[in-house]
């Protein structure tokens, strides 16, 4: 399995742990990833809210780079990059006017040949839970986990389309294969406020508290995410979101690649767990306990 990897800007900074854990999990599973040469920002929310041509052209430029490097599939971990690359690609494939516009701007003949895939899609649909299961060495037994998909992996369904838009399950199944217990909860695809994090922090904190308190009511010990903005808003802003609200305990918010990596026996430092604002010590204790039991059995 070979993919061109599009890390995106947040994986170079605020979400470096997502980058590290994605690379570690791919390596452990034998999924070969190579960075798109000289990739540039996908434009993210600011481009599509400011200049439609730019939000079409920046993804097209990157996908053309991947195509030139000989790849037919581009893998992203960031949900925002995924949505932007995929939305632009969809328009380029479907609408000749948009295709011509993109080609005029990037001055390259890109016509939508590259497929854009998300790490969840690759792990679940290409690699498959059965194959992952064979490689699990330290299952996270009994850990109750809420899978939080957010917006960008779920909508619009015509564009993203690798799971159900209102009730996705692929991440829950990956949680289960890691030995943990996926908990059903109603806010799987609710919004965290995403890029309003900086300009409208109070909105993000209100939504963050709503999500955290619902996860707590569902009885979870941690939330697992596959988006760098969801992680930032729920982890980095957790203390502020809970301020002035009814008290709930600290809930670690980890990337699916970090959770899966732990179950695959990858050392925590290789998964960037030290980058979390809310410590994941409780998850590590759980792993130590199962590893201990396994040791005693042996």
């Amino acid at each position: 399995m070979k993919y061109a990897f599009f890390p995106g800007c947040s994986l170079e900074s605020t979400a470096w742990d997502y980058d590290k854990s994605t690379r570690a999990v791919c390596k452990a599973l034998g999924i070969e990833i190579t960075d798109v040469p000289d990739w540039v920002c996908c434009g993210s929310s600011p481009a599509h809210a400011s200049n439609a041509s730019l939000s079409l052209a920046l993804p097209a430029l990157n996908l053309h780079k991947a195509q030139t490097a000989g790849y037919s599939e581009v893998l992203t971990a960031c949900a925002s990059c995924y949505a932007r690359l995929r939305t632009a690609n969809h328009a380029i494939r479907k609408d000749p006017t948009e295709r011509e516009r993109a080609q005029r701007i990037i001055e390259k003949p890109y016509a939508g040949a590259v497929n854009v895939r998300h790490i969840l899609d690759i792990l679940f649909n290409d690699y498959g839970v059965a194959e992952i299961e064979k490689r699990i060495t330290t299952p996270l037994k009994g850990l109750r986990v809420a899978s939080y998909y957010g917006c960008l992996l779920s909508r619009p369904k015509e564009v993203v389309a690798f799971d159900d838009a209102e009730h996705p399950v692929c991440m829950d199944k990956l949680v289960k294969v890691a030995g943990a217990e996926p908990v059903d909860w109603p806010f799987k695809t609710e919004c965290c406020g995403a890029s309003l994090s900086i300009s409208k922090t109070s909105v993000v904190n209100r939504l963050g508290y709503k999500l955290l308190s619902m996860a707590h009511r569902a009885g979870v010990e941690c939330i697992v995410v596959a988006c760098s903005l969801c992680q930032l808003n729920l982890d980095f802003r957790q203390a502020d979101a809970k301020k002035d609200q009814a008290d709930i305990p600290e809930i670690p918010v980890v990337y699916i690649t970090q959770l899966l990596g732990l179950a695959l026996g990858i050392p925590p430092k290789d998964l960037g767990l030290d980058a979390l604002m809310v410590s994941a010590a409780s998850i590590l204790d759980r792993r130590a306990a199962t590893a201990g039991q396994a040791g005693r059995r042996a």
Binding site: V40, P46, L58, P156
Partner: protein
């Protein structure tokens, strides 16, 4: 908003439909978009009200609203609209029109953030967080928010002092210039 609104002309409706590709005229006010909108409590106008105001040609009310900047682009409205209207795309179009017309923006912080973010991409090819945040603070005059969090971000290596340059920066600047020319044609 207490005055009775009268239909003026359909110039606004036509422009929004053309630029967003969304059939705003198909809206029959079921309010499903507003019911599922996570940001509704923070909006001065609900998304369904925006749709109706576009029908009525109420350009200033729409373009000067807080709501178009409060929208988080989560696309729950688009996913659930029974008429298949891409409401999130309408919000994008309204933001662009508001900036182009230099409308009295309901909230400058989000447009300032967008401007700072895209300047960073234009300059480095990728986002350089520390530089982008400094520029955002200068243009939005929102100087002090989150400053207390910088030490922890640095301790966790989530911010870097130097930008990550892509080797495609020249190409990116040309793409920005041509994209801006393309937008003028719309």
């Amino acid at each position: 908003m207490n005055d009775t609104l009268e239909w003026t002309d359909n110039a606004l409706l036509r422009e929004v439909e053309r630029r967003s590709g969304a059939s705003v005229s198909a809206c029959f006010q079921c309010h499903k978009c507003s019911s599922g909108c996570p940001i509704a409590p923070d909006m001065d106008l609900l998304s369904s009200q925006i749709m109706r105001l576009i029908h009525l040609g109420e350009k200033e009310t729409v373009l000067e609203s807080e709501a178009i900047w409060a929208c988080a682009s989560c696309e729950a409205c688009t996913a659930r609209c029974p008429m298949g209207i891409d409401i999130a795309a309408v919000m994008d179009t309204l933001r662009m029109m508001a900036v182009e017309r230099k409308a009295a923006l309901g909230d400058r912080r989000t447009s300032s953030f967008n401007k700072a973010f895209l300047s960073s991409v234009r300059w480095h090819g990728r986002v350089f967080e520390l530089g982008m945040m400094t520029l955002y603070k200068l243009i939005s005059r929102d100087l002090f928010s989150d400053v207390d969090k910088v030490p922890r971000m640095l301790a966790k290596h989530k911010l870097t002092f130097l930008p990550h340059f892509s080797r495609s920066t020249k190409e990116v600047r040309l793409v920005f210039n041509r994209a801006e020319e393309e937008e003028k044609k719309r």
